[in-house]
């Protein structure tokens, strides 16, 4: 037994070494402390701006006017009225704009081609979304003979991003679908033709796109990709439970106070075991929603105008807004009938909690893209006792009851260095997907929000919205969102990793931790990530 004793001792020592001590974070490995100053921003754009500079909107093209009217009266946000005077963000006229330095888009190259140009599109659409995309793509392929698009499902957005980044240029597809948090990363690969380069030659009217949509995919004054499938968070609630609790099912809570009040009332009246169901996933409660709430509060999430005028160098979510937000959530779960489902890796746990037979919740915040799925599930009997009509949809509650939403979902990117015909072919397909008719059908079938207003006015979407106004809630939120810097949402290089950090902070807080400390830690790590990212751009 002696030898095994020695082995055990060695293992114990190794284990002890591994477990104790306060090492530094792995993010600092190899580097020696000099002040990690982020490189100065790109020369065509003015330096770091202070927060909320009224009157400048870096995401919009000079000369544009915001589409849609001012937000509804229930928005006493601190930012001024959204009718922004056209401001040219570009500096002195002697310097070429950023767009001039980027790969061009030869939209007419298809005219010279005899045969069929074959291009590939890597996407991350699942199940019925993939089906509809296939239907649209088949229709496109059949409608003309110059371009043939082949769809390749990579199994999710992360797979698309990873594989794109790891591939050599020749193995890359002509088109890739990437989510809203990958914009900075994709932009930095310098492997794409910005779609804006195609607008002029093709006569594409960018004003037709909803400002929130096009701004989400713009930075440094250039629109990089074409929004395709948009979603934003909405409030899902059980109307029957509301009625039983004495709440008006037609007036869901809008402000944070109302939300807390409703949650409390539901529990106290016994209509359900829990009020609001929250989760800490980085793609929802712990990450994406926090960005939303900052936009609603009219606050910047990171510097450099949320990373839109120049790449962000530090985050600002550890300020008072963030602390208040997390304190609010902590209180909601601890005292006001809230319930934390945790990681929610499947994305369905919060909904299933509402359908729970033993201890159901009454409401949750979920992505608008899930509405179709939820209704189908209810119809299939997954939630005994709940029928289709019981599902209520309201705008996402937030600070000041603001109706601002940050766009989520994904957009389509066109690869550069692919040959003129291929690039033109890619643009042709993108233009098809961005047309009013296609967007109308896409939104109607999938539950995504259309990227343009005229799509909601044509069939089949017009009928869908008329018949079931629940599908229109997310769209209305998007229409109401003004063209302001804080309303566009943050753009960060390692955005997903930073969302993971905020989700950790939220998980700690909901487990009883102190919000200020948790956020400070998360911010410190996020800033290190940003510094590292910027140093290797």
């Amino acid at each position: 037994m002696r030898r095994s004793g020695r082995v055990a001792a060695a293992l114990a020592v190794a284990v002890a070494l591994a477990a104790c001590g306060e090492g530094d974070t792995i993010q600092n490995a190899g580097d020696r402390p000099e002040p990690t100053t982020a490189p100065t921003p790109a020369p065509t754009v003015p330096g770091t701006m202070p927060a909320t500079v009224p009157g400048s909107a870096p995401g919009s093209v000079p000369g544009s006017e915001p589409v849609g009217s001012a937000p509804s009266g229930s928005d006493p946000a601190t930012t001024p009225a959204p009718t922004v005077p056209p401001v040219t963000v570009a500096p002195s006229t002697t310097q070429p704009t950023l767009l001039d330095t980027l790969p061009p888009c030869p939209v007419d190259a298809l005219d010279d081609v005899d045969g069929t140009v074959e291009i590939t599109f890597w996407h991350g659409m699942a199940a019925n979304l993939e089906q509809e995309l296939a239907v649209l793509t088949d229709r496109y392929n059949a409608s003309q003979s110059k371009v043939r698009v082949e769809l390749q499902n990579q199994g999710g957005y992360e797979q698309v991003i990873d594989k794109y980044l790891q591939s050599g240029q020749s193995s890359r597809p002509e088109l890739a679908q990437a989510p809203e948090y990958a914009v900075q990363e994709f932009r930095d690969t310098e492997a794409f033709v910005p779609v804006e380069a195609c607008f002029e030659g093709a006569g594409f009217d960018r004003q037709a796109l909803l400002p929130a949509a096009r701004n989400a995919y713009s930075t440094e004054g250039v629109q990089w990709s074409m929004p395709f499938n948009l979603s934003n968070p909405v409030l899902f609630y059980n109307r029957a439970t509301f009625a039983a609790a004495g709440l008006d099912p037609d007036t869901p809570p809008r402000s944070l106070e109302e939300l807390e009040q409703a949650s409390r009332q539901i529990v106290e009246s016994g209509a359900a075991s829990y009020g609001l169901v929250v989760d800490t996933n980085f793609d929802s409660g712990g990450g994406w929603y926090i960005e939303q709430w900052f936009a609603k509060a009219g606050e910047f999430y990171s510097d450099n105008e949320n990373g839109r005028s120049a790449p962000a160098t530090r985050v600002m979510f550890d300020g008072p807004t963030g602390v208040d937000l997390l304190t609010y959530l902590q209180n909601l779960v601890a005292n006001a009938g809230g319930f934390n489902v945790g990681d929610n890796a499947s994305g369905q746990d919060a909904f299933l909690k509402i359908a729970d037979q033993n201890a159901p919740g009454a409401m949750t915040i979920g992505t608008s893209a899930a509405l179709g799925t939820v209704l189908a599930a209810v119809d299939a009997g997954i939630a005994p006792g709940i029928v289709r009509e019981d599902i209520g949809i309201g705008p996402m509650p937030g600070p000041n009851g603001s109706g601002i939403v940050v766009v989520g979902g994904a957009s389509i990117w066109i690869s550069a260095d692919k040959g003129d015909a291929e690039t033109a072919a890619a643009w042709d397909y993108v233009q098809f997907l961005a047309s009013a008719e296609v967007q109308s059908e896409w939104a109607s079938v999938t539950g995504y929000v259309p990227i343009r207003q005229d799509a909601a006015e044509v069939e089949p979407l017009a009928t869908t919205y008329a018949e079931d106004p629940r599908f229109k809630v997310a769209y209305d939120s998007l229409i109401e969102t003004p063209d302001e810097p804080t309303a566009v949402g943050p753009l960060l290089g390692p955005q997903r990793a930073i969302r993971v950090l905020t989700s950790r902070a939220l998980a700690t807080v909901l487990g009883g931790g102190d919000p200020a400390t948790a956020l400070a830690e998360a911010a410190a790590q996020a800033n290190t990530l940003l510094a590292q990212y910027n140093s290797t751009r």
């Binding site: 060695a10 792995i26 490995a29 369905q348 990793a497 590292q532």
Partner: protein, 304 residues
């Protein structure tokens, strides 16, 4: 009798021919990548592996001392401690249990071997199905909470105390078939005379087990132990499918491989750091192999 001259040369050339294919494949796809990864592990890069700056050896020591690495190492060691002894014991126990001439023993042997047909993806999905929060039968139903009140509502996979255990359970189950088959083979190769002479000497079944069976099985058990340990240290698919690194913020199931490739890993954006961790993993496994082979070598019986 020494062979010299042309014969020797011919033999050497033949050896070149015979070794060639293996050497080329292994050199190109194992040795060469390892070398490049070692080099890359001393740099900090972006996600594409470009725009690197070289930091040298200190990056390795920094990574080894960093808290994320230590935590992942600790989780990996815990995972191995959970799966390897249990795996060996269960395989041995079942093999001994089924090592009898009973009617229908073939059926039981087939059942115990069955899990070898499951790959990591298959086994993990099966257990995900059982353990999924809100829908899994074994996830967070009332009776589990009655037994273990510490399991709070999120369920076994979402509770930082039980997440690693659950993943370990699925791993042990998946490896059971392999262990059972190998140990059974080992049992069957123990010469009958040994058992019979012990029996004749009046040894009880337990004494026969400890004095004959286990020593004669020691090479087999060592082999099984090495395989299970190496699988435990490289576990990825189970975690990817079941917990994605474990409930945050405790990261209860972030093992070393998940730290390298996982979707929620903090080093996703840096190809240099990923390489550092990978090389350190190699190092850890080297140490492990040395410990296992040397520490237990004396206890193996070779042949008669």
């Amino acid at each position: 009798m020494a062979i010299r001259g042309p014969r020797r040369v011919r033999e050497a050339l033949l050896a070149l021919l015979f070794l060639g294919p293996s050497a080329v494949v292994l050199g190109l796809f194992v040795i060469y990548p390892l070398g490049r990864t070692v080099l890359l592990g001393a740099k900090r890069c972006n996600a594409q592996g470009e725009n690197c700056r070289t930091n040298g050896l200190r990056q390795y020591t920094d990574v080894a001392q960093s808290r994320e690495f230590r935590h992942a190492l600790w989780v990996t060691i815990k995972f191995a401690l959970l799966t390897v002894p249990a795996g060996i014991a269960l395989g041995l126990g079942l093999a001994v249990l089924a090592d009898r001439h009973l009617r229908g023993i073939g059926f039981f042997r087939a059942v115990f071997s069955s899990t070898v047909a499951t790959s990591v993806a298959v086994a993990s999905l099966m257990w995900l199905f059982l353990l999924q929060p809100a829908r899994g039968i074994l996830a967070n139903t009332g009776w589990i909470q009655d037994l273990m009140p510490v399991v709070k509502n999120p369920g076994l996979l979402n509770d930082s105390g039980t997440a690693l255990l659950s993943v370990a359970l699925s791993s042990v189950w998946a490896n059971l078939g392999f262990t059972f088959i190998v140990v059974t083979a080992g049992l069957q190769s123990i010469p009958r005379e040994l058992h019979e002479s012990a029996y004749v000497d009046g040894a009880s079944p337990w004494r026969r087990f400890t004095n004959v069976t286990v020593p004669m099985l020691s090479p087999t058990l060592l082999f099984v132990g090495i395989v299970l340990t190496s699988r435990a240290f490289q576990a990825y698919g189970e975690i990817d499918l079941l917990t994605e690194g474990g409930p945050v913020p405790q990261d209860s199931t972030t093992t070393l491989t998940y730290l390298i490739y996982g979707e929620t890993s903090i080093v996703r954006n840096d190809a240099g750091l990923q390489s550092s961790v990978a090389v350190l993993l190699f190092f850890v496994m080297l140490v492990l192999a040395a410990v296992q082979l040397r520490g237990l070598k004396s206890r193996i019986h070779y042949g008669q």
